[in-house]
């Protein structure tokens, strides 16, 4: 194995990892504020890809407008899901909300199976994203360069919102103590909706770029990336946004490199994230950058 191959795989891993990271941010933010593993998050990503296809083929939007429309529409879907399914259970046990989230996940998958059928659809890739670069023996699809850049831009915007805006500060306050935040006069429900909107928007962005990278979509495509992104969120430290991005990068790179170095393991690649997750939970349950959200309870 020479350096070019390692470099090549590193780039592939980086691209895959930034997709996981984008999705993981949604998990980590929702978990941070309402302590719910949003099981349907991977499926929200899938919804995003279908919205993107439809806004191109039914609304005849140019690709950039379709992307913006998709991100906004999916954010709305996320907010709606929260309002309909999770909000009534805010004060119930966490397991009840988790079961509801599983229900929502299955609902989305099966609804889209009924509407669009199980046959994978081709995702139209705009010419900008379809080229391939040859640079000193390293072959790079253009999309693999775009994805990490886009992920970093989104991360920077999000970090700015979280640190400098009123809503961001309220979100961070909420993740520490919901009741006190309410007492301070913050509109807790609006903030939670905003969190769902941001998480779903990022999932939609992740979904679009996932579909650009692997341009075949089906109603069950969100399950695997969703689960791995969750593993990434836990690895990075659930509740921490930069942690989620970091966890995503680590899982993406491990997955790609492990298969590149030991090709016979290719079939097992979907299990890596979980083995990693189990080890993280066993030895450092707070993840790399997380604080102990459970400290009060454990």
């Amino acid at each position: 194995m020479n350096l070019t191959i390692v470099l090549q795989q590193l780039f592939n891993g980086l691209a895959l990892g930034s997709l996981y990271g984008l999705i993981a941010i949604g998990y980590t933010m929702v978990y941070g504020v309402i302590r719910l593993i949003n099981f349907a998050h991977g499926d929200i990503m899938m919804v995003g890809t279908y919205v993107a296809i439809l806004s191109g083929s039914a609304l005849f939007l140019p690709w950039w407008a379709a992307f913006i429309f998709t991100i906004l529409a999916t954010a709305l879907v996320g907010v709606l899901i929260d309002k309909v399914a999770y909000k009534p259970l805010r004060n119930a046990s966490r397991i009840s909300s988790l079961i509801t989230a599983i229900g929502v996940s299955f609902f989305l998958e099966n609804l889209f199976l009924v509407i669009f059928g199980g046959v994978p659809k081709a995702f139209p890739v705009p010419a900008v994203f379809s080229g391939v670069l040859h640079e000193g023996g390293v072959i790079l699809p253009v999309i693999s360069i775009f994805v990490p850049l886009v992920a970093l831009v989104f991360l920077a915007i999000l970090m700015y919102i979280l640190r400098n805006t009123k809503y961001g500060i309220a979100m961070r306050a909420l993740s520490l103590d919901m009741e006190t935040t309410r007492l301070m006069g913050a509109n807790v429900d609006a903030i939670i909706s905003f969190v769902f909107a941001i998480g779903s928007a990022l999932a939609a962005a992740g979904g679009i770029f996932w579909a650009l990278k692997y341009p075949s979509i089906n109603p069950l495509m969100g399950i695997m990336p969703g689960l791995k992104a969750f593993a990434a969120a836990v690895l990075g430290g659930i509740g921490s946004v930069p942690g989620a991005a970091l966890g995503g990068f680590i899982i993406g790179i491990i997955e790609v490199l492990a298969v590149a170095i030991f090709p016979p393991l290719a079939g097992y690649k979907d299990a890596f994230a979980f083995l990693l997750l189990i080890f993280v939970l066993l030895f450092k349950p707070t993840g790399i950058m997380g604080e102990d959200l459970e400290r009060g309870r454990f």
């Binding site: 719910l36 988790l98 079961i99 599983i102 979907d270 994230a273 979980f274 189990i278």
Partner: protein, 346 residues
Amino acid sequence: MKRNQILTIGSIVLLFLFIGYANGHLNAYYIRILNNTAIFLMFAASYNLINGVTGQFSLEPNGFAAIGAYTAAILTLTPAQKEAMFIITPMVPWLQHIHMSFFPALIVAGIVTAMVGFILGFPVFRVRGDYLAIVTLGFGLTIRVVSNNTMSITNGPLGLKGIANYTNLWWSWGFAIAAMIVIMRLINSEFGRAMKAIRDDEDAAIAMGINTFKIKMIAFVTSAFFEGIAGGLLAHLITTISPTLFTFFLTFNLLIIIVIGGLGSMTGTAIATVLVVWGSEWLRIVEQPMHIFSLTIPGIPGMRMVIFSILLIIIMIFAREGIMGQKEFSWDSLFKLFKTKKVANK
């Protein structure tokens, strides 16, 4: 006390009389659904033991079912069948030549699954709550990935076919009733009370000197044992198994059953199993074209799962207790019901 035991035994005898009748008189479709009911009852009751009674929300039954099904199927297939089936990679020799009859194969399937559960218990019970759910979900997924890739043991994605159709109503209901009895007795024992204590307040249970890890492990291993046997029964009912059979979909069905029946109630689980298994057969009408007068409404394939997922969400929001909550059906309460009715009539 004695009256209740007689009534319980009486109703079990009645059930088996019905099965004897069903075996000879009902058509293959109904017998198949009755078999499914028994197998799902066994799955759901064991799943409820860990989820509802012990309160450890986990999502692994599809993994355990896969282990049980593969173990039992590999054991009952004849060496010649295995040689013919493993065309891409030959089977590991010692597995190739092993052959057993149905009953010992099922028991071995249960024991193997229980052992996997025991080993799995060490890492997973170090975490609680929703983390446990994700880790066990990951386990179910890992089992599927492994069964897809260990070509020399499971024949990979090709699956195993030609498994003898040994499962009949006697086997399935016999095991289901036996599992129910064992699980009910476990729940009413010292261990069962400790399990409920862990569900209600784990920290308080620790403070009372309960070894929570041990109790969780007992529940988990028992549940794995019966899920393994149920997996074996399932394999010998549908005669063809492949990794795609054991997706999260199976777990989701069981989850719906135990949520409808009430997390923590075995009799609720039994009622819900019947409702869900027969209800999902009845719901097939939404997937078939309907003719109302001259109007034809096209069936919508896949609609049943949409309905079930909406049902799950609605139950969780509006009727979180399910049918029975954490209570159990008992003869005493039934008699009490009649007594109060009589008083009301007067």
